[in-house]
C-alpha cells in the first residue's frame, strides 16, 4: 500500500472580496500517482494548488502532506515547499531573473544547499531538460516552450516528492506541448507524484491514473479516466467533452461494429487497431 502524500479534508477558502473559491474539498493522492485535475476556469483549481504548499491557508479544513498536517510556521512551510513544488501557468509570473542559471538556482539555494552543491544540481537539471542550448540567453529572449522548460527546471531542481503543473501545455504550439508531455512522463518515471491541471480530455485519457473533476469550488467526481469520461452527466456538468476516441468507440459498439467487451481504447491507434481487426 503506497503512502498518501497529499490529503485535503473539508478545505474551504473564501477570498477577501467574498468569493467562495473552495467549498469543502476532500481529496487523497497516493505516492507516484498521475493525477489530472480538470474543470472550467474559475472552478478553484489554481487556488487549491496554492493551498497544497502553504502559500494559501484554508479558512477551514486541513491539508496533510506526507500524513502530517501542514505546519504554517516558517520552518514547517519550508519543509512543505521542499516536498511540494508548483510550476505556474504563465512562466512570466514565475521567472524573476533574466539569467537562466540564476533563475534555476534560486530554489535550491533557499533550501540551504551550498553554492557548489547547488551548482551541480542546476547543471544536472539543465542537462536533463535539454536547456543547455539556450542557457546563456536572457529569459526575455526565450520562446514560450523554452520558458516553460525553465519553469519546470526551477521546481525539479528542488527535488520535490510532488510536482503540480498548472496547465503546462496552454499557449504552446503542438510540438512544444508534446515536448512538455514528454517531460511530464519523465517526472512520473522518476517516481514523482504529478498533479496536472488541463483542459485536454484526450491527453488526460491517455496519461492519467485518476481524473478529478472540479466544479464551482467542489470536487464533483473522480475516478479512472474510463469511469469519469463515460459518465455523460458529470461531463456535461463540468463543461467537458467526451474524448473523441471514446465517442467513436461508443458509437461503433452501438451500431455493432465493435464489441463492448473490448478493453476501452485510450489512444487513437488502439481504436484504429480494433477497427482494422473487426473487418
Amino acid at each position: 500500500m503506497k503512502k498518501t502524500v497529499v490529503k485535503a479534508e473539508k478545505v474551504c477558502y473564501t477570498y477577501d472580496d467574498g468569493t467562495q473559491a473552495l467549498k469543502g474539498i476532500d481529496l487523497e493522492i497516493k505516492q507516484g500517482e498521475k493525477i489530472a485535475i480538470m474543470g472550467a476556469n474559475g472552478s478553484g483549481k489554481s487556488t487549491f494548488f496554492l493551498h497544497l504548499n502553504g502559500v494559501m491557508k484554508p479558512k477551514s479544513g486541513v491539508i496533510y502532506i506526507d500524513e502530517n498536517p501542514i505546519d504554517y510556521s516558517r520552518k514547517g512551510l519550508l519543509e512543505v515547499r521542499k516536498k511540494v513544488g508548483i510550476v505556474f501557468q504563465d512562466p512570466d509570473n514565475q521567472l524573476f531573473s533574466a539569467n537562466v542559471t540564476q533563475e534555476i538556482s534560486f530554489g535550491v539555494l533557499n533550501l540551504g544547499f551550498t553554492e557548489e552543491e547547488a551548482k551541480a544540481k542546476v547543471e544536472q537539471v539543465i542537462e536533463e531538460l535539454n536547456i543547455t542550448e539556450f542557457k546563456d540567453k536572457p529569459t526575455h529572449f526565450l520562446s514560450g516552450g523554452q520558458k516553460k522548460r525553465v519553469a519546470i527546471a526551477d521546481i525539479l531542481v528542488m527535488n520535490p516528492e510532488v510536482i503540480i503543473l498548472d496547465e503546462p501545455a496552454s499557449a504552446l504550439d503542438p510540438k512544444h506541448a508534446r515536448m512538455i508531455d514528454g517531460i511530464v512522463d519523465q517526472l512520473s518515471e522518476k517516481g514523482i507524484t504529478v498533479i496536472l491541471s488541463t483542459h485536454d480530455v484526450e491527453r488526460a485519457l491517455i496519461w492519467a491514473d485518476r481524473v478529478i473533476l472540479f466544479h464551482d469550488g467542489c470536487v464533483v467526481g473522480q475516478g479512472s479516466p474510463d469511469e469519469v469520461f463515460s459518465n455523460e452527466e458529470l461531463l456535461a456538468r463540468t463543461n467537458l467533452e467526451k474524448p473523441t476516441v471514446l465517442r467513436i468507440f461508443d458509437r461503433l459498439c452501438e451500431v455493432g461494429i465493435l464489441n463492448r467487451e473490448l478493453p476501452i481504447p485510450h489512444k487513437a491507434e488502439e481504436l484504429e487497431q480494433y477497427i482494422i481487426q473487426s473487418r
Binding site: 519550508l78 515547499r81 534560486f106 526575455h140
Partner: protein
C-alpha cells in the same frame, strides 16, 4: 533600450570578465575626467569608439546615432557656460542687451568645448561597458563591491519586468490600434491613458503572482542565486593595467604642458 540590451548579449566581449571590463571602463573614465585634456579625451573617444564598434557588432552609423542623444543634452547644457551675461563686453562676441551684454570670451568658449569633449569621451567609456556587458553581469560587479543587496535585487527584478511589461504594453497598444484607438490626437491620448491604467493594474497583479511563485520556492526575503562569471586571464589584467598607467602618464604630460 531593447537594442542596447540585444547588443550587449551578442557582443564578442560578453564572456570576458565583467570585473575586467568595468575596471577598464571606469578606470579610463576616471582618468579622462581628472585629466580634462583634449588629447586624453581624444585618445579615449577614439579607442572606446573603435573597441565598441568592433566588438559589439554595432555599426559605426548606429554608434554615432547612439552618441547624438547625450550630445544634444550636452550642447544645450554648455551654452549657458559659454555665454555670459556681463556688464562689460568680452573679446569674442558681445551682444548688447539693455545695459548689459550677452558675451562669449575665448576662455569661456574653450572651457565649454573642453567640457563637451571630456563628457563625450566619458560617455564613450560607459557605452563600451553597456554595449559589451549584460546588466546581470554588472550586478555581479556591484555585489562584489558590497553594494546593498536591496538595490541589487530591485535592479534584477526591474530589469526582468521591464521586458514583461513592455510586451504587455505593446500588446495592448496593438489591440487598440486594431480598433482604431489611435486615429487622431484625441483618441491617441485617451488610448494611451487607458493603456497605462490597465498596465498599472496588471503590473500590480503580476507582482502579487510573482510573490506567490517565489514563496512556493521558499523565498524568505532575500534573493539568493548562483553567480557565474568568467575569470580574466593574467594577460588581460596586465593589458588593462598597462593601458591605464600609460593613459595616466599621457594625462600628466598633458597637464604639465598647459593642459592641452
Amino acid at each position: 533600450m531593447m537594442i542596447i540590451d540585444k547588443l550587449a548579449y551578442s557582443s564578442q566581449l560578453r564572456y570576458k570578465s565583467p570585473f575586467l571590463k568595468s575596471a577598464f571602463a571606469v578606470g579610463t573614465l576616471l582618468i579622462c575626467v581628472a585629466a580634462r585634456s583634449f588629447v586624453v579625451s581624444g585618445i579615449v573617444l577614439i579607442l572606446m569608439g573603435c573597441l565598441t564598434v568592433f566588438y559589439s557588432r554595432t555599426s559605426l552609423s548606429h554608434y554615432i546615432k547612439l552618441m547624438t542623444a547625450p550630445f544634444a543634452f550636452l550642447a544645450l547644457g554648455t551654452i549657458a557656460i559659454a555665454v555670459n551675461y556681463t556688464s562689460a563686453p568680452m573679446d569674442l562676441i558681445s551682444i548688447p542687451v539693455g545695459s548689459h551684454y550677452l558675451a562669449v570670451s575665448v576662455t569661456s568658449l574653450t572651457y565649454a568645448i573642453r567640457l563637451i569633449v571630456v563628457s563625450i569621451a566619458s560617455i564613450s567609456c560607459l557605452y563600451f561597458l553597456t554595449l559589451t556587458t549584460p546588466l546581470l553581469d554588472l550586478l555581479a560587479v556591484l555585489r562584489r563591491m558590497h553594494c546593498p543587496w536591496i538595490i541589487i535585487e530591485l535592479m534584477m527584478l526591474i530589469y526582468r519586468y521591464i521586458f514583461v511589461l513592455l510586451d504587455m504594453a505593446l500588446a495592448i497598444t496593438t489591440a487598440q490600434n486594431c480598433r482604431l484607438g489611435n486615429r487622431d490626437a484625441k483618441t491617441a491620448i485617451q488610448a494611451m491613458g487607458l493603456m497605462l491604467s490597465v498596465l498599472l493594474v496588471r503590473a500590480l497583479n503580476k507582482s502579487s503572482l510573482l510573490f506567490d511563485a517565489m514563496e512556493s520556492r521558499c523565498y524568505d526575503g532575500e534573493i539568493r542565486v548562483l553567480n557565474e562569471s568568467n575569470p580574466s586571464s593574467i594577460k588581460e589584467k596586465t593589458g588593462v593595467i598597462l593601458f591605464l598607467v600609460a593613459l595616466l602618464v599621457v594625462s600628466v604630460v598633458c597637464k604639465s604642458n598647459g593642459g592641452i
